[in-house]
């Protein structure tokens, strides 16, 4: 009963109260879009939780996969938003490119773009994961290597020659699938879509971690060697969960793109990935609820503090990192559970 309360509250607030507020004019559409964006980030956080919270692999590439999804969608939107008679995005024209680069061509079609935006990060994660896990590189080494890869990809995406818009990224869109992005009903639709996606992916992850596969992941986290000794193919499990996490992040990125209207390499640097990890850590690692709660709370805090006290945000974020690691090993969700237990035991004693 208690366990389900948080879901009910979540659904009540975001699927019922917010839309009602919007239709009655109490909640401005921009608030909804903001929450829609948070949902996308929460989706990516779910991926982090699967990889880190459940399997114990600290990956620093989650923001990269998120951005790959966003870039895929961005490429489609760039091409579909070209004005009549123009065949190349303007930044390519400025760089004296005469022909659309080959990897842009399939993104002209929405269904191809949709599939590729998920597949490319998945395959990338698969290849990367295979080579790393095969040699049992894990823990700190894994973190450092993925961090370096994130840095290298950030540098590559920032170049003009890679034809991805350089440091300015992809931006300036008016339409998405023929809908006007400035239209409030389109914005509302995207909000609902993000909420649905979050719900669906949550449900999928829930099934995953409660399946035999999920149990194996937890076992790998707790004792990798023993799993190997009992003839589980740890490498396969690790690669699989790494790919699943990457594709989940990519879905988040794809939904994020039409709602913010801009994607830059700045979203995929090392700091972005570490921040995603701290969302999960603060919310509560190893609990799917924790990932969502952490992502929502920290992004809300970011929005609030950067408007109220811009210079203090880094202090607060840094402080949260330290406090979470030192005092909240189980995150907010764990803290709530602990307090509940305490209350219960007091209640039991007095009774």
């Amino acid at each position: 009963m208690l366990k389900n309360k948080i879901y009910i509250i979540f659904i009540l607030v975001f699927a019922l109260l917010m839309p009602i507020g919007y239709f009655t004019g109490l909640v401005p559409i921009n608030t909804l879009t903001l929450w829609g964006r948070y949902f996308c980030l929460a989706i990516a956080a779910l991926g982090v939780d699967l990889i880190w919270g459940y399997t114990g692999i600290l990956s620093m590439t989650q923001a990269l996969f998120f951005c790959m999804g966003a870039y895929g969608m961005g490429m489609y939107m760039t091409l579909s938003n070209l004005p009549e008679g123009q065949f190349l995005p303007s930044f390519m024209v400025w760089n004296q490119v005469t022909e659309l680069p080959f990897f842009w061509v399939p993104f002209d079609n929405f269904s191809y773009a949709l599939v590729l935006s998920i597949l490319v990060p998945g395959v990338f994660a698969g290849v990367l994961g295979y080579f790393i896990f095969r040699k049992r590189i894990k823990g700190v080494y894994f973190a450092i290597i993925t961090q370096a890869i994130a840095l290298a990809m950030f540098l590559l995406f920032s170049r003009n020659e890679t034809m991805l818009g350089g440091t300015n990224g992809l931006t300036d869109f008016k339409f998405f699938l023929g809908f006007d992005l400035r239209d409030t009903s389109v914005k509302f639709g995207l909000y609902i879509l993000s909420l649905l996606a979050l719900g669906l992916i949550y449900w999928y992850c829930h099934g995953l971690v409660n399946s035999k596969f999920g149990k194996a992941l937890v076992a790998i986290r707790d004792s990798e060697s023993r799993m190997r000794f009992t003839k589980y193919k740890v490498t396969h499990y690790s690669v699989a969960i790494f790919m699943i996490g990457a594709m989940i992040a990519a879905v988040g990125g794809m939904l994020y793109m039409p709602q913010t209207g801009i994607i830059t390499p700045g979203r995929m640097d090392v700091q972005a990935s570490i921040e995603m990890i701290i969302w999960v850590a603060l919310g509560g690692r190893g609990k799917l609820k924790g990932a969502v709660v952490g992502a929502l709370v920290l992004n809300l805090m970011y929005s609030v503090f950067t408007t109220v006290l811009p210079s203090s945000w880094l202090y607060i974020l840094g402080g949260l990192f330290v406090i979470t690691v030192l005092y909240l090993p189980k995150g907010i969700v764990g803290l709530v559970d602990q307090m509940k237990e305490k209350l219960n035991s007091m209640f039991v004693k007095t009774a």
Partner: protein, 537 residues
Amino acid sequence: MKNKISIFVAFLMVVIGWTQEVESYSIPLDTCVNVLLHKDATRLKEVATCLVTNDDIATYPLISAIVDKRLFVYKGTAVTKFPGDTLYYSVYPKLETISVQQEKLSEVNFPRSIRTKFNVLSKKVNLVHPNKSVREMSFRSFKTTGVLSDVDFLTSLKINEEEEEVLLAADEAIYSIWLHSNNAALQNKVLSELEENMNVHMLDPLLDYVALKENTNVEGKERAKKIIENIESREKTINVIQNLFSGISLGSILLLVALGLSIIYGLGGVINMSHGEFVMIGAYTAFSVQQFFIGFLPESWFDLFFWASLPLSFVVSGCFGLLVEKLVIRHLYSRPLESLLGTWGVSLILIQLARTIFGDVTAVKSPEILSGGINVTQGLMLPYNRLFIIGLTLVMVLLTYFVFFKSKLGLKIRAVTQNRDMSASLGVSVKRIDSLTFFLGSGLAGVAGCAMTLIGNVVPNMGQTYIVDSFLVVVVGGVGKLIGTIISALGLGVLSKVFEFFYEAVYGKVILLLIIFFFLQYKPKGLFPDKGRHSDD
């Protein structure tokens, strides 16, 4: 309309006046100078023309002072002061330093019409500039613009020249003029001269010469091509050496940063993401010491600030490290992934702190003794500051080695690194060793930061640029291995510079990363893994 006519009339008058003055007669130079100094308006133009037609070396300093608007008169003598110099020089009849009382100086200004009269000479006047690099530059300018009639004049200037670089530039100018001329004898003379003494700066004139003779069949063409080949191959060698050298100096900075990182990780299993910030703290310590020297100590002591800040950087960074260890890291030993997150938070706080206190960009002035460099051969210079960094690293590594392998403290550190619980049970105070090691490691980073002020600006996030690279050094070298760290730091430094030379910086980095990636396929535990097997849980 009226205005336009009057301007036209004025223009006509100028033109006519100018054509008349071209035929002006000669006036003694001393008179000319006097007229100029007293600004005798009626004769100014006449005198200026006379100076130009006379074209006397003795008047060049005076003319350049007029053109650059830095002519003064002091007790009847013409005086000037060159930009970036504190001394005053008398300009006529001889260029020499002179002591003046500032209040008795008065500036002499000339209208544009007079100054532009000297434009014909502008190329030549700086040939007698007191600053040797300006002289060198103006000799070089003759390489492309000089004509055969300039040669005698340039040769005459060579007689009094003492600086080797300037003499070289003068030779280059003369050779270039000869090469560009149509005189085969002179051209051959140049070629034989160049065959004997190679000069890398002669590449462009030689290329011009070859292009000019493209369709003819002179024997000089082949000789010139041979010389060009030699020059090019030499330039390539020099480039390689230069890149190797900057690679080693980059590697030595990486080494200083990674050394502490590796020791700390080996000892406590702590990934210290805030290690880069101790580099930053070291750099800001140097900056603060500099400001202190500027504010409170006599000016003649200023050059000492850097030497004072080196040990201070070590101590200050070390103390910060100790503080961070006591507050945060102490709780995270043997929890590497958590320590990574926690120390990342620490680094965010430290960066923002530095930004609040010091602002965005500051710089430290290098001490005089480290400016310049050793000229190994023509075109190859090894800057002193980079040499110093390499030397400093060498000293620090040796010190670390002695502490690590020859001292009692080192013995204990190695014991704790190998087996924490066993050391504790044998009476080693593990906590004290942890703190001391952290102090040493952070101090090394601080010294690295102090050294980095010699080659770059001081910015709040300067540590971040090095942190990922130095972690890669640790991974490649093998955790907690001194020798592995040294080899991998130097190797990565050199490789990244070499790749930067062949490809662009970004691609160089990506290629390097791929190499590391495949290296770890063969040596997942780094260059020098621990021997034997042990289970991790």
